[in-house]
């Protein structure tokens, strides 16, 4: 089970699938299939979430308190049985922490690349 405190400290790193799901939901409540579509198009098809992994991960994130199930946004949904997921405060913190961690790593990488090319 995931412990949200570990995300705050940036350790251990968030699983890439979880990261992509959280990024997707950060844009507003969404349902499973839409999340998959969004992740797929955003990563140019590099990350594809197949159904069992998708719903398994969503369930874990809900259980870990990073996501919460919400009623479907009025007027938008065609299928009332669909579950919508929204980011919780803990989820926002975890996502922010992961983003900082990735940013830090990206900064390090760029610095080293720059140092290498100048030498």
């Amino acid at each position: 089970m995931m412990d949200m405190n570990s995300y705050r400290d940036g350790l251990p790193p968030l699983d890439p699938k979880c990261f992509h799901i959280l990024v997707s939901v950060a844009g507003g409540p969404s349902h499973g299939y839409a999340i998959r579509k969004e992740v797929e198009s955003r990563t140019d098809g590099a990350v594809r979430l197949w159904p069992a992994t998708l719903y398994g991960t969503l369930a874990e994130l809900v259980e870990g308190g990073l996501l919460v199930e919400t009623p479907s946004p009025a007027g938008e949904d065609d299928d009332p049985r669909r579950r919508y997921y929204a980011l919780t405060a803990a989820g926002q913190r975890a996502l922010a922490a992961e983003a900082s961690r990735l940013e830090g790593m990206a900064r390090t990488a760029r610095r080293r690349l720059a140092a290498g090319s100048s030498s």
């Binding site: 089970m1 499973g32 299939y33 197949w50 159904p51 069992a52 398994g56 369930a59 874990e60 669909r82």
Partner: protein
Amino acid sequence: MSGSGSRIVRLAVACYDRALTILPASFLSRHRRELRSCFGALAREARGRGRFAVAGVLLRSLLDLVLRAPREHRIARRGRAALRGASRAATFGSGLGLDLRHALRRVRRQPAFTATTVLTLGLAMAAAITVLSLVHGVVLRPLPYPDSERLVVVDHAAPGLDVDDGLGMARGLWAHYRDGARTLEEIAIYRFTEPTWTGDGEPVRLRGVSTTPSLGAVLGVTPQLGRWLPDEDGERTGTGAVVLAHGLWQRRFGGSRAVLGSVLHLDGRPHEVVGVMPADFAFPDREVEVWLPWTVDTATLGGFNSKGVARLRAGSSQSAAATELRGLLPSLRDAYPGRTVEAYLDEARIVPLVVPLLERMVGGIRRTLWALWGAAGFLLLVAVANVTNLFLARTEEGARAIALREALGASRGRLYRGLVAETVLLAGTAGALALALAVLALRALRAGSPVPIPRLETVGVDPVVVAWSVGGGGLVAAVLAALPLLAGRRGLPARLEGARGNISTHSGLGLRRILVVLQMAAALVLLVGSGLLLRTYHNLRAVEPGFDTRSALAFEIGLPRARYPHRADAVRFHARLHRELATLPGVEDAAAVGQCLPLTGPCWGDVLLAEGRPVPESTSPPVAFFRTVTPGYHRTLGTPILRGRGLRAGDGADGGLRVAVVSAETARRLFPGRNPVGGRISTSAEGPWVEVVGVAADVKEDTLADEPHLVVYLPLTEGESPGPPPHKLHHVLRTSVVPTSLVPAVRRVVHELDPLIPVADLQTLEELVAEETAPAAFVSLLIGLAAALTSLLGIVGLYAVVAWSVSRRRREIGVRMALGARPGDVRWLVLGHGGRLVASGLALGLLGAGLATRVLRGLLYGVDPVDPVTFGAVALVLSAVAAAALVLPARRAARVDPSRVLAEEG
């Protein structure tokens, strides 16, 4: 495209949905719908890219599913652990799982109760499943032929000869019925034959059937390989046809297709293999290895030496066919004018019989199976009664606990579910045990039944029977489970008080008493049945077969007509063999007999007349069996010669029939009140007449239970003699050593005389007699086992009820003793209480046995179905055992200490 495309999507979704079940149920219950709809969306999306894309999505999703499933299971387990102890709204399903786990714990806590219940129910259910499978597989299951209910045996009775059935068919009748009967679609006749197969290695005697090729159309079965017998036998080409049984084909030809077209030498004549029958084809029985075409000569009527089988035309009834065949008989005179037809119609007065084939096949064993079924039914009833009793006893203990839990707020449904779970667990275990035992029992029976049971080889544990057993078991479980709740219909406070309540407030005792009475009655019925069968067995064992069974070996030698065309050739061969055998070391005496040995069925028969004793006009002459024997036959078999002398060397040496020995019954019937020696007999009023030189003791011809028959012993001669030619003879050796030790020597002697002749049917005379007593031994053993088990259960049930009632009545007994009753009085009180149960059970049982043993009538020999000695002895033994079972609780009751009981009460 879109039609087939959407079908592919539907197929893929169904496939994915099926695969989803590898995920934990807790996860599925929340997400299955989403998983399916998500996959459906992916598949529909892929549809536009073609069916391979859909398949690709399916494969990818399945792979994802398989990779993900272990993680979900780990999570689900962790989740359960986290939830343990927390309150949760239980669905019925998981509640039942919980009930089962509780039940398992309860069952484990009481090993004695569990073992008793499971063993009692398991053994009884095993007996029931075995016997019901036999009844269903042998008696009720249709024969494996298309429209088998239209298959009938065409047989004849001959009231004029006192023959009720089994006369069979004559070849002329076959042609006559075939051409005349509208109710029959097709008719065939066949007879058994035992061709000797010579080829590579030892000559082998095969068991075969010669049949009109119409048999194929009658039964409507197609060969597995090749074709059925052709309508025309290869008389012209010189090569006959033969169809092989599946077993022979597998055994001797390794199941090779190349067997078709190969040539077998049967009785010295080439036969081409034209077909192989499927494994389940076993007509007329499983023993048959080859079917040969029988080209019937219909120019003459022929003798009654074949069997008939026919297929009724659709819509025709068996009685209509019988009526039609009877109507065809008068026209037989025009078809076959002459003396023979007159003898059949006027003297024998033949009557056609049309009997369903299935009934004819299983008729003999049906009575035995139903008797066993009755025994198994009783055993099952008593077992269920006993288990009910056990449950009732526990109910008393359980009722208070249930009342307590109910008072604490548990729902009745919830309590009932718990009880059901426990009973289901016990009944399920018992059922599994029963199924395993039944499978073993049937396998043992198939491996070697002491009783010839038709179709046994195809009998297995029957799914229908198992379904019934499971259904019945479930019902019993539900009822047993309901008992504590029923017992607890009284008000809650009364039940909470219940464990201390006295006898008068207790419900269930009445039912327990009734059950014990029924158990005693059932035990008595079965004991009487097994007693009667045991006496039958002993009576049969005590029957004098008319010959000495000790130290004697018998076997059969048949000579092929092709190489031994004349009577004289055969007689000379047998005479030489006889001489050689007599000189073997260890052989005291040797003899041979034509047709058949004693106890192997009625042989060749004909009417028999005594000179000077005309048969009255209104009656028909008696029929006698004829046996051709070598000199010294009676001495070798140990059959006493009562008057005159036995046949000796020189009798019939000139080729003519001059003398005969007759059986004692023949002497009584044909020569009443005078000495038959010197009298003359014949098969015809015109002679030739043969002089009676001796009277031999009666011998059991067909079965041990037989009435004595008329038998005429004639010397084996090279000249004409009544009966079939002497090509097949039974040789009998009286030995001074263990009979079977002579088998190699016998084979060697026969091989030296003619290497192409097989030695068949080797057996000792003791084995011959044992075959006769085996069915009675087998049935009495089985019913005896059932009776022993039932009695044991009945006695245990009796003991349990009385002991339990004593423990319940301790207070009452204590009060009585405090008021001055002596221990002896108390003992008698208990004995009287149990004695009344026993007496009622015995009375009911005797009544039931009087009715039930009628079923056994056909199985008994030398004892009446209501034999007072058996009834009395069984009742006496059962009451003695019952009394012994009552002594213990009676003594315990007498030892009750009033001061302690009353102190507990205070």
